[in-house]
């Protein structure tokens, strides 16, 4: 619905004629500097988190190995037991894992046409 012009009175005309105030001179440059002209960060947020977590885990493991006697042997034992329990030593499990990884890689290589992407995005 647009403005009703039939009930325009003096106030409406005054309002319509009121000019907008000019923004400060440097505002456009400031907005552009904060958006499109801003340099890309070297790392994305999730990359920084991932590297941080990996470093923390590595430091934790190093500290365990350095302070607890025979820690490395116990860690290896624990890992081997976990592999036994999960069935990763079975040829069939490994085969299915390989099929799953191949399928995931193949799907990641598929390209979707732009028109279909747009339709999916609208939905």
């Amino acid at each position: 619905m647009n403005h009703d012009h039939d009930d325009l009175d003096d106030l409406d005309r005054m309002l319509a004629a009121l000019p907008l105030e000019e923004p400060p001179a440097g505002l456009h440059a400031r907005i552009m500097a904060a958006t499109t002209l801003r340099p890309e960060p070297a790392f994305r947020g999730w990359e920084v988190w991932l590297v941080g977590v990996l470093f923390a885990v590595a430091a934790w493991l190093t500290w365990i190995v350095a302070t607890i006697p025979r820690a490395s042997e116990r860690i290896v034992d624990t890992l081997l037991r976990a592999i036994d329990h999960s069935g990763l030593d079975s040829e069939y499990t490994l085969l299915w894992l390989a099929i799953g990884a191949s399928a995931a890689w193949w799907i990641s290589q598929l390209s979707v046409p732009a028109s279909l992407r747009e339709r999916l995005r609208i939905r």
């Binding site: 619905m1 106030l11 309002l15």
Partner: protein
Amino acid sequence: MGLALAVELPPVEAPVVDDQALIIATLAGQTDAFGELVRRYERAVYNLALRTLHDRTEAEDATQEAFLKAYRALNSFRPGAKFSTWIFTICYRGCCDRLAKRKRLSGDELPDRADPSAGPEALAERNDEARRLRAAIDALPEKYRTVVTLYHLQGKQYEEIASVLNLPLGTVKTHLFRAKEQLRKALSV
């Protein structure tokens, strides 16, 4: 013999690109396209922030923040929607957050902050129509001032105002009616 013809051609105007095309171009990495969007709406967004916040410095910051948020969320902009409504909504929400922060910091409900540029001399100069009208709009309660700003100063439609302010259509019409009544009284129109 040379024949000199002085033909005055009309100036060639560049075709006006719509907002949707500018958004697509921005997403494709064309920085100029976003610059054009900013150019189109910075004045309106700044005026909305200024009328809502009553503070030029804060209005400038709120305008920059609104465009920054829009730029970061441009991927999520729904095709077919109006960019103006979207950017006004972002700006208005940012202004509401700033007003809420002001109230929190003061510990009490404060009247709207006075415009620092409106000193005694500036107020004395408000004798012409536009200045009187601006002063009257500034004196309105915030909810009325924003509706008047969106409706009259930026040519918005009722539905868009309702969308920006997240208010029912009827409330927008009521606010506008009451705001105009107060303005009429203040201006004796």
